[in-house]
């Protein structure tokens, strides 16, 4: 199990050091600084020196490190470290050196609460926020209140407190999809998949029982016997989810039995589910890249980006990163829309288009002049062209929310909103 959790800044100074177990010397923190932080050639997030193992995650400008002296469950250790980061962000907005320094007593308090003797305890942000508060809002918790809190922290509904009341009962459903693409130089799709995420913001009174429905092909598929009578083939246009993961409030047994998603939601924002699809991916952009290396002194680019989605939609924040050789001296660009700029620090030309309407094609051309140097004989590795974008009301997987039903004792009506956003995950085109 975990023997200690340490936070470092980039210089390798210890910001927080919480030891959970015996057997660690104080100098242990120096060991990590020497071996990892000041070592430029670290090739694994896990490092064992003698019988002591260091696992680290880097977030913003801090290192979050766990130390173990046993054959620990490493996946658990990393998940726990991510959890610390998530907690830090939700408490302080930003989890960086400054936030840690300003809130170090609170962080010690949190570390004391979420881990005991190296075993992770309750790490639910909402529950923790009930009794571990930031300086400003701290008040003397009354006794009966804390009994209630502890009941909640260990109860079967550890993620939701009692007696929540809203005048207006609303649920916002956000479907975020990260579309990943890897296209070969020949223009064939090597790998395309969608990593989706459904975020719910539930503002519901009481203890609502929710049922959530998607156009999941396993549910709708006519070949499945238990639904064959109800669903006609017209309901095709379904999506086959390769795999999905749910928030702990979702009854997994029920999903496994008949693929219904039922749950009692936490209050406020949470990630209901994550999913992954690999079939029938709608790629919002097609990119054609033509790069010519003319001798050793010049590289010529011609790029066309075509939006394949409907003309009523438009993508925002489109950025195409076009890599240039390391010895580029100057670049001249010409674009049909947007702005292009050579970023020497990134070894790339950034072509930005603020608004990219559907069903249109924009083109880019550039010339890069190269320095001829004697030392640089290596060939250019030609990293892929990468793209970023946001696109509202579109899903690459074809996923649709079919219903969200809310049942509550008091039988109130609730308002539901759905929003779809597609973003570029790693959208790479080789050339």
């Amino acid at each position: 199990m975990i023997s200690a959790v340490l936070l470092y800044n980039q210089k390798g100074e210890v910001l927080i050091s919480r030891l959970y177990r015996e057997g660690l010397r104080r100098s242990i923190s120096d060991l990590f600084r020497i071996q990892v932080i000041s070592n430029s050639d670290v090739r694994s997030p896990v490092l064992t020196l003698g019988t002591t193992t260091f696992c680290h995650v880097k977030h913003d400008n801090i290192y979050v490190v766990a130390i173990s002296r046993q054959n620990a469950d490493i996946a658990l250790v990393f998940e726990f470290l991510y959890k610390i980061v998530t907690l830090g962000r939700s408490y302080f907005g930003k989890f960086d050196e400054e936030a840690v320094k300003n809130n170090f007593t609170l962080i010690y308090e949190l570390l004391d609460e979420i881990m005991d003797f190296g075993y992770p305890q309750n790490t639910e942000t909402d529950t923790l926020k009930m009794y571990i508060m930031t300086e400003g809002v701290r008040s003397e918790t009354r006794m009966e209140e804390s009994s209630k809190i502890t009941m909640q922290a260990t109860g079967a509904l550890s993620w939701r407190r009692d007696n929540i009341k809203y005048r207006r009962n609303e649920v916002f459903v956000d479907v975020f999809e990260d579309v990943n693409l890897l296209m070969s130089a020949a223009g064939s799709v090597l790998r395309a998949d969608v990593a989706g995420q459904i975020i719910l913001r539930a503002y519901l009174s009481g203890t609502p029982e929710c049922k959530f429905g998607l156009n999941d092909s396993l549910l709708i598929d006519p070949s499945e016997d238990f639904h064959s009578s109800k669903m006609s083939k017209a309901a095709a246009g379904s999506v086959s989810l390769e795999d999905c993961q749910f928030h702990q409030c979702v009854r997994l047994g029920k999903f496994d039995a008949d693929r219904t998603i039922s749950f009692i939601p936490p209050d406020g924002e949470f990630e209901l589910m994550k999913y992954r699809t690999t079939e029938n991916i709608n790629l919002p952009f097609k990119v054609h890249v033509l790069v010519n290396e003319i001798g050793k002194s010049r590289v010529e680019y011609k790029i066309a980006v075509k939006a394949t989605f409907g003309s009523k939609l438009f993508a925002t924040g489109v950025l195409v990163k076009i890599p240039t050789p390391l010895n580029t001296a100057s670049v001249s660009t010409h674009v049909s829309h947007g702005k292009a700029k050579y970023e020497p620090s990134d070894n790339a030309i950034h072509w930005r288009i603020a608004r990219f309407p559907g069903d249109s094609e924009y083109v880019f051309s550039a010339d890069a002049e190269l320095l001829s140097s004697m030392t640089n004989t290596k060939t250019w590795s030609r990293p892929p062209v990468a793209m970023q974008f946001n696109l509202m009301m579109f899903t690459s997987s074809g996923l649709l929310v079919r219903y969200l039903k809310v049942f509550e004792k008091s039988n109130y009506t609730s308002v539901k909103w759905v929003r779809y956003v597609v973003r570029a995950g790693s959208y790479e085109i080789r050339f």
């Binding site: 997030p45 896990v46 308090e109 079967a156 070969s184 795999d243 892929p384």
Partner: protein, 689 residues
């Protein structure tokens, strides 16, 4: 009373009247609450920075009795850190702890028992009994779950006390608690006790307990689920129905959002899957594939753990992800440790259907910048050729393309890979001229050795083989042993294949070695060749150019027992390193000592084996060559550790040599060598081929 102790302590420490410590102290004893709290905070800050603030112990301790929960926590934190350095003073805190453990507020009760367990001072232990007994039976599950862990803490300090006071039995009773989190913590605590002291039989999962665990599984926190799943994985059942039941109940956890829960569930199913009937067996393996793929696209660090584990699972169940190779394609910005793992997995997934895609992908990687990764990619192409026969021609073409790039390290690796391919599939000798073009660029021993091997082996097909060998011989004495050995063998092969004009070359090499080189292996080999050649050239051709066993597999596989052990340890450090836990973890408190002792014993054993090994090796050689050492009685019983054969006067040795039995004996030695000793084998092969 308290005041007098304090006075004494003060006088011992001789505290200065100024500086940071002085300031903190005056803050800690201030009459204003806010000043005291501020001083405590600053003390903790100084502690974090690594400053020694242990001298403030008595002053901090004074602030322990406070209604302010936050301040109490800080004082406790300080206490845990410095209790060891002031064991006597800890007694002063006991009263507060005992009082707190009876507080009306469950948060305070839990805090008290949690902290008490962390103060590892013998004197405190005596006072722990009562509070622990009470809190284990507390009304609040929050307190009970904290007390459960506290039993494990106490056990670490004083096992007999835990057993004698019946805490262990109470803890086992908590497995039936109505609250799932209490159950989960009880499982964690019991597992730990079981590990450190198996004789206590702290956690023996029975069918009864199994039922309770499966019920708690669906209701507790993500971390609790992992603890429960792990204990279910360790449960051994012989009953197929029970195994089926376990798998059925565990499989829904594949959909959990926390990757470590998913991995724990995978481990649990894998531990019981062998009992299921073939149909169900396949069904569960199929169900496992999507979550494994999802793990392989999670955040980098967890992804790394997942990939290492997938690697293990693939070694046991090679077909599980056969259609999912694309998911393991490397992204340009993946950290190197992920790329390397993905590469290894892709090779394991290679089959005739996907090999085409894989090859074009590997070629991309071979053109990237990171040298280490590029070399692995080139190596992977070779592994691919050897694994999937139908792809060989494409692989060779890709390798030729890569050689044409003239990037130094790519060429070097490609040459090494080509050697393996040539050995596996005869008929690709056509590429040799292309390989020879880059011969001057090779500067790494392995690549040079590989190239020389190729030149020697195919000397009759290479027109200027003698020139090539001659250039290498120019710098013979500067070469590393690996290259020298290959060069020696290659020269002899050249002589056997093209006897005209090459005799001076052989003689020169043999003379150089026997006169100038100190390396025993090299000298021995040279002597053997010399004798062989001078005794019977025809027989030496049969021996030296004999058929070699083909290279069958170049992908590393763990030995079966290790693999089985690691599969039961999925998600742990052992599974990440692909090494059993004993290799990097000490056992219990005396771990380091025990390990050191074990290492010493091991070394002694090794030394012994080595001696035996050397002795038998010598014996073998004697048998093999059937040398009659009558003339040299000393040489037939060499001292242990000495070189296999001491130089013998040439004439005598050759005269005594009987080569009749040699060719039939050599294959026995060749084929029995396990893969991982390939380099050794090659040396041997070179010796006898």
């Amino acid at each position: 009373m308290q005041a007098s102790i304090e006075k004494r302590i003060r006088s011992v420490f001789q505290i200065p009247r100024k500086g940071e410590t002085y300031e903190l102290r005056s803050g800690l004893v201030s009459q204003y609450a806010y000043e005291r709290k501020d001083a405590i905070q600053r003390t903790i800050a100084a502690m974090t920075l690594g400053k020694d603030v242990s001298s403030l112990f008595p002053d901090v301790l004074k602030n322990i009795a406070t209604p302010d929960l936050e301040q109490k926590k800080l004082v406790y934190l300080y206490l845990m850190n410095y209790a060891k350095s002031h064991p006597d003073l800890c007694i002063l805190a006991v009263n507060t702890f005992v009082q707190d453990s009876e507080d009306g507020n469950p948060l305070v009760r839990a805090l008290a028992i949690r902290t008490m367990g962390c103060i590892r001072v013998d004197k405190i232990i005596d006072y722990m009994e009562e509070p622990l007994r009470k809190t284990l039976k507390d009304d609040s599950p929050y307190v009970r779950k904290t007390a459960a862990i506290c039993v494990a803490k106490l056990f670490d300090l004083n096992p007999t006390l835990v057993v004698e006071n019946g805490f262990l039995t109470t803890l086992q009773g908590l497995l039936s608690d109505s609250n799932p989190m209490v159950v989960a913590n009880a499982v964690s605590a019991l597992t730990e006790i079981q590990e450190t002291a198996p004789e206590t039989n702290a956690l023996i999962v029975s069918s009864e307990i199994l039922k309770k665990l499966l019920t708690a599984l669906n209701e507790c926190t993500e971390w609790g689920r992992i603890a429960i799943l792990t204990s279910i994985a360790d449960y051994r059942t012989a009953d197929a129905r029970e195994a089926e039941h376990i798998c059925e109940r565990v499989v829904p956890q594949f959909q959990h959002v926390n990757p470590s829960v998913v991995l724990a569930a995978v481990k649990t199913v894998l531990c019981h899957i062998h009992l299921l009937n073939p149909e169900l067996h396949k069904q569960y393996l199929d169900k496992m594939s999507p979550p494994l793929v999802t793990l392989a696209v999670s955040q980098p660090e967890v992804q790394y753990v997942a990939l290492r584990n997938i690697n293990l699972i693939l070694q046991k169940y090679p077909d599980i992800l056969s259609n999912q190779m694309r998911i393991f394609f490397c992204k340009y910005n993946d950290p190197l440790y992920l790329k390397v793992e993905k590469l290894d997995i892709m090779i394991r997934l290679a089959n005739p259907k996907n090999v085409e895609t894989l090859l074009s992908e590997l070629k991309e990687y071979a053109l990237e910048v990171d040298m280490d990764f590029v070399r692995r990619a080139v190596k992977a192409i070779g592994q691919c050729a050897i694994k999937v026969e139908s792809s060989t021609e494409r692989c060779v073409n890709v390798l030729l393309d890569l050689i044409a790039t003239k990037v130094n390290y790519v060429v070097q690796e490609a040459v090494i890979v080509m050697r393996d391919i040539l050995r596996r599939y005869p008929g690709y000798e056509g590429v040799i001229p292309t390989l020879c073009q880059g011969i001057d660029e090779l500067d790494e021993p392995e690549a040079r050795a590989a190239m020389i091997w190729i030149v020697g082996e195919y000397a009759d097909k290479i027109d200027n083989a003698d020139e090539l060998i001659a250039t290498f011989i120019e710098s013979f004495t500067d070469e590393p042993t690996q290259v020298q050995l290959q060069l020696l063998t290659a020269t002899v092969k050249l002589f056997l294949l093209k006897p005209q004009n090459t005799q001076p070359l052989v003689q020169r090499v043999l003379q150089t070695i026997t006169n100038e080189c100190d390396n025993a292996d090299l000298r021995d080999r040279a002597y053997i060749y010399w004798r062989l050649l001078s005794a019977n050239p025809q027989a030496s051709k049969e021996i030296i150019m004999s058929k070699k066993p083909p290279v069958k597999n170049v992908i590393a596989h763990l030995p079966e027992p290790v693999l089985e052990e690691l599969l039961r340890e999925l998600s742990t450090l052992a599974s990440v390193y692909h090494k059993p836990a004993e290799t990097f973890v000490g056992q219990g408190r005396f771990g380091a000592d025990a390990l050191q002792k074990k290492a010493l014993e091991e070394q002694a054993q090794l030394a012994q084996e080595e001696t035996i090994h050397v002795a038998t090796k010598v014996g073998n050689l004697e048998n093999l060559l059937d040398i009659d050492f009558d003339l040299e009685p000393v040489a037939s019983t060499p001292p242990p550790g000495a070189s296999p054969m001491s130089p013998v006067p040439l004439a005598a040795g050759v005269a005594a040599m009987d080569l009749g039995g040699t060719p039939t004996m050599s294959p026995v030695l060749d084929t029995n060598q396990p893969q991982q000793f390939r380099s050794n084998v090659e040396d041997l092969l070179g010796m006898f081929d």
